[in-house]
Every structure is written in C-alpha cells, then in structure tokens.
C-alpha cells in the first residue's frame, strides 16, 4: 500500500461507480443522478455462451445501452473456402455452428448440389432429413439446458444432456463422429444407414415424448420461470423482420415462416408438421416455440423412419467437382434460423466465393434492441434466448 499515490483509490472507485452529489444537476439523464456504469461481460463470462463480449452501459442495474463485440472466434472460414476444393471445404462448415453440425453440412451440400445441378437420391434425402431433425432436437436441447442454467435452474441442463447424448450416439453410430459429423457428402451420403438406425431413432422418439414433459414440468408453469421470461426481451414482428431475425426468434414474434415449409428442401415436403408461432415475441414465447419445435421434429423423425425408400444414396457426381460458372443462394432452416450459402463458381475445382449467412450473427443484432431497459439479470436471459453459437457468429 505504501507506494500507492493518494489519489489512486479515489480514481479507481470513480471508474467503478460514484454517485455524483456535487454536480447532480448535470446528471439528470439517469434516474439516481449517478454516473453510468460500464460493465464488461465476456469474453470470459459464465453465460455469454462462448466468447461473446458485451459492453453494457448501466444505470444501477438497468441497461441503458449495449454493444456486442464479436470476432474472438473468427477463423476466416470464407477465405479458407476459396483455397479448398468443394469437397475439402465440407468439413469446415461443421465447425461453424458446432452444436448443429449436421444442419450446416446439409445446407452446404445442398447449395453445391444446386450449383452442380444435381439432386441427391430420395433415400439420401430422407436420411438427411432424419439426421437433421435429430440435430435440431439436439441443438434445442443444448439451448434449453444452458438457457435454464443462465436463469438459475441447474437441473434441466443435465436432463437435456442425457437426451442429447442419445442423439449423439446415433450420430456416432452413423458416421463415427458425435459433434462435427460431416455426415453428408455432396450428392447424397457417403455412408449407408446402419442396420438399426430406424430402431434407434424410434426408441429415442418414444422416450423423448415423456422426457420433454419432464422439462416442461420443471419450467413451463414455474412462477419464477414465468417471471424471468415473460415480457423480457420483446421483439415485435416488424422489428424482428427489420433486424433480419429468423428461425425461432422470428416465429416467436408471430411471423409464421419456416423455410422447411416455405421452400421445402431435403424431404420436408413429404412430412406433416406444424410451425409453432408465438404472439408476444418475448423470451417465454421463444421458449415455447422451441419446445414445440422439438416435438414437431420428433414427429418428423417418426414419419421419416416409417418409410425410408430404398435405392442409391449418392448421386452421380464426379470425384472432381467443377460446377459450371455461376452462382447460387441456398438456405435451410437451421436450428438457429436461416442458414444460407451463397456460392459463386468460376468453373474450377475451388469455389470462387462462399458466403455463409449465419443465423446467429444476424439474430444477435437484435440483442441491443431487446436488452435496453432491462436488468443485468435479463441480459443473460436474452443472450440465452437468442440461442447463439459463437463459432457461427464469428466464423
């Protein structure tokens, strides 16, 4: 303490928070006549879901401004794509939204197929649908667990991981990998479905029905949960569209739009399912929408395994892919929202440009709008409800 200059302590405290008594006349813009507090959340913070960094401007505990600082996980995926062949790049997309790798792969493969003007065989499309829907459930389970954990409910996390584990086991049996699966190939599938795939999926779906009731028992009608999520982070439908929000965030705001229905890809046109829509656009509605989406995904899986058509699993694509020059934009309904691939080909083996439209990145933009006027505790609830994955935000 000896070498400390006398003013140090005061200065340090001023930087923390100091009620300005003397010049309160000038501080009329805040409620208590206090200085604003700048709180830095992340990139190392328990609930910023990876390496998101948020700068919050606080008045007491009320947020009066925020800024997301991203890029800590930027790996230059789009640049890498330009230096890889079409097939070589496929595993890279798994590393973007690493909790929904199968969906990423589906979007990429379909985009390149479109660019090549090939179409995957029916059997491949059905198996793709099954795996992608399982992946959606897995992704939503991870969201549910972490979201609940952010709001302070410890237990759902482990229940969710229990079920997610079942899905990952199916992936592992199918392609040998659990997380970054690289399950699909351009033109179809590389691996034939293993013998008991249908049985495994069916068993999972059967169990899952009661399990999801279990989660809802813990949360849906819980007074604290309602208090923490209702009216928090409201996004009206107009705002959601203006901010480009897609996926459950958009649907919870009341816009009934799901690419699986609007522009069916894979085998979604064959199955019956509902698009859950919210009304209030708050955190609670997003919770309900995602819960219902899991149920619908389960139904899709059950329908799909009933009748997996036989036939080839890989369309005739060459070993070397040289799509004719041109460009294509293809998007799928990833668990987080619209995952788009804009691929430009110049006729060589490497893509000229691959642009990935990341749902998390775009959805995160509405964070500032959602968080203003709320308390610090709501910030983590809102980060959770956006369901972002920083691998995808930063790419």
């Amino acid at each position: 303490m000896g070498e400390r200059k006398p003013g140090d302590r005061e200065r340090a405290i001023t930087s923390v928070a100091k009620t300005s008594i003397t010049d309160s006349g000038e501080k009329q813009h805040t409620l208590l006549g206090a200085d604003e507090l700048i709180l830095n959340m992340g990139p190392q913070h328990p609930s910023t879901h990876g390496v998101l960094r948020v700068k919050l401007k606080l008045d007491g505990e009320r947020v009066i401004g925020s800024e997301c600082m991203i890029g800590y996980l930027h790996r230059g995926v789009e640049k890498i794509a330009e230096h890889r062949t079409y097939q070589q790049f496929a595993p890279y997309v798994d590393r973007m939204d690493y909790v929904a790798a199968v969906s990423n792969g589906l979007g990429y493969c379909e985009a390149i197929e479109k660019l090549l003007l090939v179409e995957a065989p029916v059997r491949a499309r059905v198996i793709r649908t099954i795996l992608t829907e399982l992946q959606r459930i897995a992704s939503h389970l991870l969201w549910l667990g972490t979201h609940a954990l952010d709001i302070g409910a410890l237990t759902p996390l482990f229940y969710c991981f229990r079920e997610r584990e079942e899905i990952l086991k199916i992936f592992e049996k199918y392609c040998g990998a659990r997380l970054t699966t690289h399950a699909f190939r351009i033109g179809g599938l590389q691996y034939e479905a293993y013998d008991t795939l249908e049985k495994d999926v069916e068993r999972f779906c059967k169990n899952f029905e009661s399990r999801i009731v279990e989660y809802e028992d813990l949360l849906t009608q819980n007074r604290i949960w309602l208090g923490r999520t209702k009216g928090v982070g409201i996004l009206t439908s107009a705002e959601a569209i203006a901010f480009g929000a897609t996926g459950p965030v958009l649907r919870a705001s009341g816009v009934k739009w799901d690419i699986r229905k609007a522009m069916p890809y894979a085998a979604y046109d064959q199955y019956k399912f509902e698009i859950p829509v919210g009304t209030a656009g708050d955190t609670y509605d997003r919770y309900l929408v995602r819960m219902e989406e899991m149920r619908q995904s389960r139904l899709i899986c059950l329908q799909a395994i009933e009748n997996i058509p036989s036939g080839p699993i890989l369309a005739k694509v060459g070993k070397v892919l040289k799509p004719p020059p041109g460009e294509v934009y293809h998007s799928i309904e990833a668990p987080k929202g619209e995952l788009g691939y804009y691929v430009v080909s110049d006729g060589t083996v490497q893509p000229y440009r691959v642009r990935i439209r990341p749902p998390s990145f775009v959805n995160l933009q509405s964070f500032d709008r959602m968080v203003r006027g709320h308390l610090v505790a709501d910030v983590v609830a809102i980060i959770g409800t956006l369901d972002i994955v920083l691998g995808e935000v930063d790419r």
């Binding site: 179409e119 070397v320 020059p325 788009g340 804009y342 642009r355």
Partner: protein, 244 residues
C-alpha cells in the same frame, strides 16, 4: 470474363499451393454431371423465366458461357436474361439504373446502379414487399473495372420469393448504406467493410466487426494472401522470416 487468370494470378503462398493437390486430376475429363437435369432443385425460383428476347441482356459481368475446360457437351446456358413483371416494373421506375436482369439456376438476379442502391432497396422493401434482407455481402472481381459486387439477398414473405440484387462498386467507391432501410444491414455492412474494405456511405458506425481494429488489409479480397498477416506478424514480433 470470369478470368481464371484473375484468380490464379493472385499471389498465392505455399499454403495455397498445397491445397491444390488434386489439380492433376482436374485434367481428366471427368464429365461434370452438370446440366442433365437443370430443372431439378425444388427451389426458390422467382416468376417463370420469360425467355423471349427481351431488352438488353448481356453487358459484361456474368457470362452466359460454360466453363472453359468443359468437355464437348452441349453448353448448358445457366445464365439467362430475365424479363418478368418485376423486372418490367423496376425498369419502368428506374430505367437505366437497372443495369442487368438475369437468372442463374432459376434464381433471379438484378444488377443495379450502385449510386441509387438505397433508393432501389427502399422500393423493393416497400413496393415489392421484399421485406427481409436475408443477407448482404460482396464478391471481389479484381480484374474488373469496378471490382466489387455488393450482393443483397432479399426475401418476400408475401410472395415467398427470393431476389438477389447486385451493385457494382469500384475500390474506394462509396456504396450507400442500407442501414436506414433494413437495420440488419448494420452488421452485415460492417462485415463487408471488414472483409472487403467497401465503404458504406451513411453507415452510423462503420468499424471492423470480426477482425481486430488494428488489422491490416481486407482478407476476402482476392489479392489478399491467406498467410500475409501471419508472415507479417512473425516478422514483426519474432524478428525472423516466417517458416511457412
């Protein structure tokens, strides 16, 4: 005009050459399975492609030419001029500002004049009900006079239709910001600035978004070498030449 050379010509490091391992294979005329079923993908096509010879199709840019090394198959024309009602309306309203209207793999692409981009975007949002800006990005064509394509991917909930709007911009040329039309353009434009160095005029907060502020260069430009930054960093901080 696609200019392989434009791409190959760029200064590639050893890193890049390594990735070209299957270049030899490329020589074999392994027939690209393309072209056989052009109408296959269940897609987000716009209105039916009205083929009849319409106003001026071709000026520059996207060629209607198949890939150079393609085997002697009948060339598949993937890029066709587009002339539907939407194009008519846009042309009637903006005249020469609509530079080109094409269709590629059943996806509509309108190329518009860069200076009037914001105005046209507003028109698309309000009049044509393309209310969702799915994506905003850019493509770099270094050999072209105006090297950048700023690409907007629009979606209309009402029509369930996608539309791609492009604007060509030269290096250093200011592109009007669309932040006022779609707030979501904010980050997307920042990303385009970050990666390409395209300046968006009227953007409220044009800073780098994914890369650190002190980053040099714009990585997604074609003349930006993938290991440039590494070599520079090694040289500066370790005082040795990079081993890569």
């Amino acid at each position: 005009m696609f200019l392989h050379s434009g791409r190959r010509g760029c200064d590639r490091g050893a890193y890049c050459t390594g990735s070209m391992a299957d270049e030899p294979k490329e020589q074999q005329p392994s027939a690209p399975p393309a072209g056989e079923k052009p109408a296959s993908s269940p897609s987000s096509a716009s209105a039916p492609p009205a083929k009849p010879a319409a106003p001026p199709p071709p000026p520059g840019g996207v060629p209607a030419k198949p890939a150079a090394p393609a085997p002697p198959k009948p060339p598949v024309v993937l890029q066709t001029p587009l002339n539907n009602e939407l194009v008519e309306r846009v042309r009637a309203k903006f005249g020469p500002a609509l530079v080109e209207a094409t269709e590629d793999r059943k996806q509509a692409i309108l190329t518009v004049e860069c200076a009037r981009l914001a105005e046209i975007a507003l028109y698309f949002r309000d009049e044509e009900k393309f209310d969702l800006l799915s994506d905003l990005t850019a493509v770099d064509w270094p050999k072209r006079e105006k090297r950048f394509d700023v690409v907007l991917n629009l979606y209309s909930f009402a029509k369930n239709e996608r539309l791609r709007v492009k604007a060509r911009a030269g290096d250093g040329e200011e592109v009007p910001s669309l932040h006022g039309v779609w707030p979501t353009a904010n980050w997307l434009e920042r990303e385009a600035f970050d990666m390409f160095g395209i300046v968006f005029a009227g953007h409220p907060d044009l800073r780098r978004i994914l890369l650190p502020d002190e980053w040099k260069g714009y990585p997604l430009r074609k003349d930006y070498d993938i290991i440039e930054q590494d070599t520079a960093w090694v040289k500066e901080n370790l005082g040795i030449e990079s081993g890569q």
